[in-house]
């Protein structure tokens, strides 16, 4: 089974394909792969959305970029359960892990 890192940078207000990427993550996970979704830039605005909640419920590891959250005037401590706060260092560790297929949207 594989390992996937899906980095989402956009809000669903910017791109209709955000939900498609989340759906891809859910499907890959359902097939037994390890899947991590890392929210950066405007994607952190979706941190509390049902779509992200569903990712967590479906066994996808979800991260949110602390820097992006703070830059957008949001409260990083208000992140939902199941969403881990991280930064560039965490993103790089996930990215560079052996056997991981990364995707940036």
């Amino acid at each position: 089974m594989g390992s996937y890192l899906l980095v989402e940078s956009r809000s669903d207000q910017e791109s209709p394909d955000v939900t498609a990427l989340f759906d891809l993550g859910t499907r890959l996970r359902a097939e037994g792969n390890e899947v991590a979704v890392f929210l950066v830039q405007n994607a952190v605005l979706a941190m509390h959305d049902e779509t992200v909640h569903d990712l967590v419920a479906n066994g996808v590891r979800v991260w949110a970029d602390r820097y992006s959250i703070l830059a957008r005037g949001l409260d990083p401590e208000a992140h939902p359960a199941g969403v881990s706060l991280g930064g560039a260092d965490d993103l790089v560790d996930l990215l560079m892990a052996d056997g991981t297929t990364p995707v940036w949207h």
């Binding site: 980095v7 940078s9 956009r10 950066v40 830039q41 405007n42 820097y67 992006s68 830059a71 930064g87 560039a88 260092d89 993103l91 790089v92 560790d93 990215l95 560079m96 892990a97 991981t100 990364p102 940036w104």
Partner: protein
């Protein structure tokens, strides 16, 4: 999590000044270099114009803060290259640069033919393509 240093190819093909894409690419490159990975930053499109030799090391003055110096994107790129201990390589696409009159690049940036994008992306341990053309 300590990882063995590996090679990372960052293909920055989205345009600057449209989102925080360039900022994110720099953050990733910076973090990867600090973790001793070998990073290639490849820019396409208008990102090739960020590192032209004619670019000043500072942004135009802010009329509301006349004496504040704001480093240009070129200056930030030069700083990262300078501080990378040779672990950061900055390449730009010849086709994109030529189309945008950006062929005169600052020291430390190399112009490469467009077919090398895929070659280098596949040769790297990890490849991340950021943004869309």
């Amino acid at each position: 999590m300590a990882l063995t240093p590996r090679s990372l190819f960052l293909g920055l093909i989205g345009a600057p000044y449209a989102s925080d894409l360039f900022t994110s690419a720099l953050r990733i490159a910076d973090a990867a270099v600090r973790k001793e990975h070998r990073v290639t930053m490849w820019t396409c499109g208008y990102a090739t114009a960020l590192t032209v030799a004619e670019a000043s090391d500072r942004k135009p003055r802010d009329t509301l803060a006349w004496d504040t110096v704001y480093p240009s994107p070129a200056a930030v790129a030069a700083h990262l290259l300078d501080r990378s201990d040779g672990r950061l390589t900055w390449l730009i696409c010849r086709y994109c640069a030529e189309e945008r009159a950006a062929m005169n690049q600052m020291s430390g940036v190399r112009i490469r033919p467009p077919y090398e994008f895929v070659q280098r992306a596949l040769a790297a341990d990890v490849c991340l393509v950021l943004g869309t053309k």
